[in-house]
């Protein structure tokens, strides 16, 4: 680091210095650093808040998708045996001894059923196997453990059970991701595709992306003219219309969704109207609800403000003269729109489409209420595993895949369109 004397020694041609002789560059760096620290200090509470309430819990939840220590914690002897050995066939006396001792202890701690539930994620029937064996474990007195345990329940002699336990012995597991990708392990422990009647998530991920894209597309088609109208009307009318856009925004999501049920169900307002004017026969009522059309219609309505607002804010800044100029220079209405107006609204289109798409991908209340069976999205499965099946590892794996997918799409968008071009309002 150059000092004041160095600078003086370097002569008049040396770098610029401040009054006290410090090189200007250093002083500047010091000043900006101080400003930066001050800024950091000011945002520190927010940063801390975001880390504590957002990043940490989400990180913890996602960690569950690869971490499940239930088996290794509660069956310590068997776990270390399984980690040390390769399970290619049903093991011998050593492993069974560890199993019996661990199960006796687990029974005393009342954790045997949790262990069974962990194994049950990958092998049906394990819960009751662990429970019934633990109940009778006191009958086993001393070696040989293997023969006595097999006499209690022959299922302990099945290789698949042992390969599942061998995988569970490591607290870190890829099993939940495998399941989330419709894969499973066969008896030898190799990864294969899940049986066809249990493949579900790949299909649902695809449907989620397609329906979200459809909703974003419909919102754009419906929202674009509305936003244009808002942007071009005189203020006193446009403010009134803006309230109409915002009103549903302020109404509870559940209220809006249930109103759609009233409107669209087969004995609902819309169908009644179509029947009474004779467009439909009474027994030919349209099924607009409890299928994917229900999801698409209700979600499009709910998402519309997210499309209209960014579009409006961009359109507001587009000078009207440009289109007029284009027209006066001989462009037809279509050409003027496509070549002059539309390109200037691209930042709003990008923002609106991305916003609607990303919110739709994670939506679950509306599909749950009006989606029936064909309108379910991946988030409904995540909710199912969080609340009903209690398989949080799988829920976390599905959530992580969804998050990864959205980040990937965002990155793609950035590469293709550029996030800098986006204007959120």
């Amino acid at each position: 680091m150059p000092t004041a004397t160095d600078t003086v020694a370097a002569g008049d041609l040396g770098p610029l210095t401040t009054g006290d002789g410090t090189p200007l560059k250093t002083a500047l760096a010091r000043a900006t650093r101080r400003a930066r620290l001050k800024a950091l200090f000011l945002v520190a509470p927010l940063l801390l808040f975001v880390i504590v309430t957002f990043a940490v819990p989400i990180g913890q939840m996602l960690y569950l998708s690869i971490y499940n220590p239930v088996f290794s914690d509660n069956m310590p002897r068997l776990s270390s045996w399984l980690r040390a050995h390769d399970v290619a066939e049903v093991p011998g006396e050593d492993a069974f001894k560890a199993l019996v001792l661990d199960l006796t202890e687990a029974r005393a701690n009342r954790t045997h059923a949790q262990v069974g539930t962990r194994i049950n994620y990958e092998r049906s029937g394990a819960t009751s196997l662990f429970k019934s064996t633990a109940r009778k474990i006191k009958r086993i007195k001393g070696p040989p453990y293997k023969d006595q345990l097999l006499a209690l329940d022959a299922e302990w002699g099945e290789l698949h059970l042992w390969t599942v336990m061998a995988r569970a012995a490591a607290p870190h597991t890829a099993a939940f991701y495998a399941q989330a990708l419709d894969l499973s392990y066969d008896a030898e422990g190799d990864i294969v595709r899940a049986p066809e009647n249990r493949r579900i998530y790949g299909h649902l991920f695809l449907r989620t992306l397609l329906l979200s894209a459809l909703v974003a597309g419909l919102c754009l088609i419906l929202g674009y003219p509305a936003a244009h109208l808002l942007a071009s009307l005189p203020l006193k009318y446009s403010n009134l219309l803006m309230v109409l856009v915002l009103l549903p925004f302020w109404t509870s999501l559940l209220v809006r969704t249930t109103s759609w049920i009233t409107l669209l169900q087969s004995q609902g307002v819309l169908n009644d109207m179509l029947v009474s004017v004779g467009i439909l026969a009474d027994d030919g009522r349209l099924q607009l609800m409890y299928n994917q059309w229900g999801t698409v219609i209700a979600m499009t309505h709910i998402m519309l403000p997210f499309m209209i607002l960014p579009l409006y804010s961009v359109m507001k800044t587009v000078p009207k003269d440009f289109v007029r100029a284009a027209r006066s220079l001989g462009a037809g209405p279509v050409t003027a729109f496509l070549r002059v107006y539309l390109p200037q609204t691209v930042p709003g289109i990008g923002a609106g489409v991305l916003l609607v798409f990303i919110i739709s991908v994670g939506y679950y209340i509306t599909p749950a209420l009006v989606g029936g069976s064909s309108g379910q999205l991946i988030s409904n499965q995540i909710a199912f595993h969080m609340l009903q099946s209690l398989n949080w590892g799988l829920a976390a794996a599905l959530g992580a895949l969804l998050l990864g997918g959205v980040i990937l799409l965002y990155w793609l968008y950035d590469r293709l369109v550029g996030v800098d071009n986006m204007k959120l309002g």
């Binding site: 949790q114 049906s124 009647n197 579900i200 004995q267 029936g372 064909s374 009903q388």
Partner: protein, 363 residues
Amino acid sequence: MTAFKPIAAVALAAGLVLAGQPATAGEITVVSWGGAYTKSQVEAYHKPWMAQTGHKIKSVDAPNPAAPIKAQVKAGNVSIDVADVEYSDAVRYCDEGLLETIDPAVLPPAPDGTPATEDFIDGALTDCAVANIVWSTVFAYDAAKFKGAEPKTIADLFDVKKFPGKRGLRKGAKPNLEMALMADGVPAGEVYKMLTTDEGVARAFKKLDTIKKHVVWWEAGAQPPQLLADGEVSMTTAYNGRIFNAAIGEDKPFKIVWDGQVLDFDLFVIPKGAPNKDLAMEFIKFATDTQRLADQAKYIAYGPARKSSGKLVGLYQDGKTQMAPHMPTAAANMGNALVNNFEFWADRDSELNERFNAWIASN
């Protein structure tokens, strides 16, 4: 120093008053299934308990009260004191260590002195739960929709040719698989044995396939009577008490078909780490005594879980309808009935629901 003394005395007194308060008037949170069912519990359990003890009850509705328990216990932030859950959930959650254990010895004996352990129906007491009612999943139809022949058997639920119209089914593997097999001619006694085999499960799904296009799926217990009333479906599976309340309480032309009913218990449980555990236990002791269980049957057609309550069950709250024939356990209704096998579901819940979800998601 002297100046502080009066203040300290006041603070001490205030502290004593505050510390004494929970003992005189506590509040517990009880989560149940909502609608007519929660109402029956409020009338038969909550109100008398509040009047007798001076404590308060915050009643909360949920589509499945078991659902929030795991999240709350794992997060260490439990707000529920008592939850009303299904049998398989009570067993599963107990296994996972999410519930407080309940010693049945503390439950009050029957009026004639029979201990609670003998007074409750077989299976009504588990390590962590005390049953209050026996309920069943039945199917019901709107009589106005079927002028000629009316549905009589569980097979008719799956026969859209003979009985056209949409069907309401509960979204979940249980008890649709059981009902599908019974409709396919499997005797009740063999249903669970058959469902442990791949062929049995395939057979159940094949039967469900025949009506898949006609199904409206419901989740909350209050939905099926609403679907029937709206004309959205012509037949639906439902919890029997809900249909009873719509038919008798609200004069709807709904009829229950008891053939192929699936019986289950509802049980009170206390989540591990409940904020008012002792008070919750007091409430459960009170609510599951002979008289209270019998009283509940005055408001909804679910059978009491105590044998000694049976004799006390009388008239519906309208003062003229005898409740006995509307109970799922009435002899006339038990002709072809299945008792839900909780061990089967504790084992196969994840596998079969995964398969069910895959089936429902594929078109």
